[in-house]
């Protein structure tokens, strides 16, 4: 009988063997050829005078665009997953529930597989930047060289810790678990540094500061502390958790769709739920972080702020609203389906609240997606008196957008609370009073957010930005930090009226998890383009002008095509990585099946927590799922 490794190796070999030789040669040569052609293009000039090199057909900027975006998306996953893998491990350690430890390990398995590819794309990006943009890279190296060294050290440390964390998982159980958790902490700490340092290089390009004389360390540190560095750090940190959560959710969704046993279905249903929960958990504070970043951009440079939010890039924010809206709807849809399918009998009880939430979300989304300047024909514009609608035009400004974003966050949070409380009956004597208080607080919070939003139209912008918007965020935050412990206390003594059943979600639940992941990837590709394009024709804003033939902003349609391409390529990459990562599981499953078949009929033990995986059960389960 073949071992798991042998089966894994033979699968890969078979895959390579099936690939036509000509395809292999062309693929390999095309990768090698691109930089060679670029070098040849710059060969007739003196080495030091080369400012740019181009790549035929695709163009240097487009090549950098693709590679940088892939690297950033992979890095987002690699830096986001350890955060919740570690938290999951702590939960497992504290509660003694093995399933959390297993889940954390499964998260880390995906992380380990993606880590090398991320580093590979980072290396390719670096070589391409040095080769294609030598002038810019010389400037950045001069400015940031000490931080390069720190970055390399952090990378070495991160790699070493990741090896120990992953390979030592089974070994470091029991009394060694505390050390393993410490390794998880170090993994996240180094990851934070790995994220923050390159962020400083990119944000310096967008918001450079005057760097006074001093030694190399002082100059590098001064340049790092540019106005958008910290907002981008916070924004990316949260966005990485969101990306990681939703991708893990999509992975679980696909595995759920492919599952053949009830045990598998239960596991991946639960994993999908956790992934969606992590994504939503990160998504709630994300708009606030984005708002802070845009505020800093505006304050740093009015021109850049207007280019982004009022100028030619403003349409990207309507697309952003659409993608975020789909994400909110997708995440809530998954929660609601969870109530309907995992908690039998809850559907009727929660039908009306779900409908109310859906209506509020759609109304908010309608406001968020209404542009300030409408797309209108000549006749329509004439009737409206311009492209600004006299009534609905008021939805186009930040006061309206902030208000609806806060309400959508509030609704999504309440969706989660509703899911949490479903199937349970509070028994505490103070439960009724607490629920009344929560309802009153929620109503007051909703009204207060709307009142502040409307009032925001009648006060100077600075009052709205500094006080009203902050107050709206604090109100929503207050609801979250009071309702979460209160609900936990309520449910601590509650009796379960309906047991939650895992593995009963319909197939569209799996697809909605995949949809969420695709939306978040598209969203990151979109905003990556927005952030880079806000520099317009500058490599370093106001300092180093782009003098290449690509010193123009690509049209929005062209950019949208590239964003879609990047999303597609990333999905392919991640699918490939996860496929490779789970080859071993399949091999083990096949091995286990083969061993099971050796056992005489009727002697097969029942799987822990599940039904016997007879063919009949599997088939009936699949049919049940596809209803």
């Amino acid at each position: 009988m073949k071992s798991a490794d042998q089966i894994q190796q033979s699968s890969v070999t078979r895959f390579l063997e099936k690939m036509p030789t000509i395809v292999k040669c062309v693929s390999f040569l095309s990768v090698l050829l691109l930089p060679v052609i670029a070098l040849a293009a710059g060969a007739d000039t003196k080495p030091m005078s080369v400012e740019y090199r181009d790549v035929p057909w695709i163009g240097s900027r487009n090549l950098i665009w693709i590679v940088a975006q892939q690297h950033l998306l992979l890095a987002g996953f690699v830096l986001g997953v350890p955060i919740f893998a570690w938290v999951c491990e702590i939960v497992g350690w504290k509660t003694g529930e093995k399933r959390y430890d297993n889940l954390a390990k499964e998260f880390t398995k995906l992380l380990t597989s993606a880590y090398a590819t991320t580093a590979l794309f980072g290396g390719i990006l670096l070589f391409l930047l040095i080769g294609l943009y030598p002038k810019l890279m010389a400037y950045l190296s001069e400015m940031f060289f000490p931080s390069f060294m720190i970055y390399c050290l952090l990378f070495l440390a991160e790699t070493a810790v990741l090896y120990m964390y992953w390979y030592g998982w089974d070994y470091m159980q029991g009394n060694k678990k505390a050390f393993h958790l410490f390794l998880g902490f170090l993994l996240n700490l180094f990851a934070l540094g790995i994220m923050a340092i390159p962020n400083s290089w990119a944000t310096f390009q967008a918001s450079p500061v005057v760097v006074a004389d001093g030694d190399a360390w002082v100059r590098a540190w001064t340049a790092m502390q540019n106005p958008t560095w910290m907002p981008v750090n916070i924004h990316r940190l949260i966005a990485n958790v969101v990306l990681g959560g939703f991708i893990v959710g999509a992975y679980a969704g696909i595995r759920y769709l492919l599952a053949v046993s009830q045990e598998e279905r239960e596991h991946y249903d639960w994993m999908g739920y956790v992934g969606n929960f992590i994504g939503v958990f990160g998504m709630l504070p994300l708009p606030f972080a984005g708002y802070w970043l845009m505020r800093e951009v505006y304050q740093y440079n009015q021109q850049m702020g207007i280019t982004l939010m009022g100028g030619f890039l403003a349409w990207l924010f309507i697309l952003q609203a659409m993608l975020i809206g789909v994400l909110f709807l997708g995440a809530n849809y998954y929660f609601w389906m969870g109530i309907a399918h995992r908690i039998p009998g809850s559907e009727k009880q929660y039908k009306k609240p779900i409908m109310a939430m859906l209506v509020i979300l759609l109304l908010c989304l309608g406001v968020w997606m209404t542009p300030h300047t409408l797309v209108a024909s000549l006749a329509e514009a004439q009737k409206m008196g311009g492209t600004h609608h006299p009534l609905l035009g008021v939805f186009g400004v930040m006061s309206a957008k902030m208000t609806v974003a806060n309400i959508m966050i509030l609704v999504t949070f309440m969706s989660f609370i509703m899911y949490w409380r479903a199937g349970k009956q509070e028994t505490a004597g103070w439960a009724k009073a607490a629920k009344v208080m929560m309802n009153v607080l929620l109503a007051i919070a909703g009204i207060a957010v709307i009142v502040l939003g409307v009032w925001g139209y009648f006060v100077p912008a600075i009052i709205r930005i500094n006080y009203f918007s902050v107050a709206q965020v604090l109100i929503v935050g207050f609801i979250m930090v009071t309702f979460t412990p209160l609900t936990w206390l309520l449910l601590k003594s509650a009796k379960t009226t309906t047991e939650m059943v895992w593995g009963k979600m319909p197939i569209r639940a799996g697809y909605s998890l995949v949809l969420n992941a695709v939306m978040v990837i598209l969203l990151m590709s979109l905003m990556g383009y927005a952030r880079s394009s806000s520099r317009v024709h500058w490599h370093i804003y106001g300092v180093m002008r782009d003098t290449s033939e690509y010193a123009f902003s690509p049209a929005l349609g062209y950019a949208a095509a590239f964003m879609s391409l990047n999303t597609f390529v990333y999905c392919l990459l991640v699918s490939f990585i996860f496929w490779v990562a789970t080859l071993g599981d399949k091999a083990k499953a096949q091995q286990a099946k083969a061993e099971m078949s050796d056992v005489p009929a009727g002697a097969a033990p029942t799987m822990a927590g599940g039904a016997p995986s007879s063919r009949e059960n599997i088939e009936s389960g699949i049919l049940e799922n596809h209803k």
């Binding site: 009022g310 209506v359 004439q382 409206m384 311009g386 600075i462 106001g542």
Partner: protein, 241 residues
């Protein structure tokens, strides 16, 4: 019969009637792009709610699937199915044709109303003190040079306004000058429509290039009077005392 299909159809129709026919009774008609957006959201809501559980999915989609599959159909229902299967592709084809066919109508425009200002205008502060004398002088200048188009009430309804398409800006609307810094207005007044970048379609603005007639001092004071008269405040990074 009040199944989800009927309820959903009534809702869609109701929203369409509201947006297309009822709302224009009180305000300007909505452009097709906005109606399309709101209708898509309504349809999404119906689909989300209708596919939440197995029973709701069956109520919403069951009759549709059974109708389209044609199982056990005869007579009128069979003919209706055939009609749908023929008419629906034709409808899609007609829609595709009308969206691609050459037309003498100009395409829907996507104009950027507030483009980014040139670098030399960024960060400029009004050099004149905000006092009554300056504000009044600004209002006087506004009355002389700006009000014929932008209106004595700062609402874009001056006597010359009906002659322009797009019409002059309404400064009383919180979506216009309240969103901008004073330096932005200084740029727009000084350089006029011809000074706009391409994405703002300079050919669509009749704003004169006032730098040829007015000194900078007048422009700064007009800005002051404009904000005061329209009861708006410029976007700043410092709070007023």
């Amino acid at each position: 019969m009040r199944g989800p299909i009927a309820s959903g159809s009534i809702l869609l129709l109701g929203v369409f009637v509201l947006l297309k026919f009822i709302l224009p009774l009180f305000t300007a008609p909505l452009p097709a792009s906005l109606i399309y957006l709101y209708m898509t959201l309504t349809f999404s809501g119906i689909m989300i709610f209708g596919t939440m559980s197995a029973s709701s999915l069956e109520s919403l989609m069951g009759p549709v699937f059974r109708f389209l599959s044609g199982e056990g159909q005869s007579g009128t229902s069979k003919m209706a199915r055939l009609a749908v299967l023929v008419l629906f592709p034709l409808l899609v084809g007609w829609q595709t044709y009308t969206s691609l066919a050459p037309s003498d109508l100009p395409p829907a425009e996507n104009r950027t109303i507030h483009p980014a200002p040139p670098g030399e205008f960024v960060g400029l502060a009004n050099p004149y003190q905000k006092n009554e004398a300056n504000i009044n002088m600004g209002k006087g200048l506004y009355a002389a040079y700006c009000s014929p188009c932008h209106g004595a009430n700062y609402d874009g309804k001056g006597p010359a306004a009906p002659g322009f398409n797009p019409p002059p800006a309404n400064f009383a609307d919180p979506g216009t000058i309240a969103q901008l810094q004073e330096s932005y207005l200084f740029w727009r007044i000084k350089k006029g429509g011809v000074g706009l970048p391409v994405e703002a379609m300079p050919w669509k603005s009749a704003m004169p290039r006032w730098e040829v007639e007015l000194p900078d001092e007048f422009i700064w004071k007009i800005i002051m009077g404009e904000y005061d008269g329209a009861h708006q405040s410029p976007r700043t990074w410092e709070e007023e005392e």
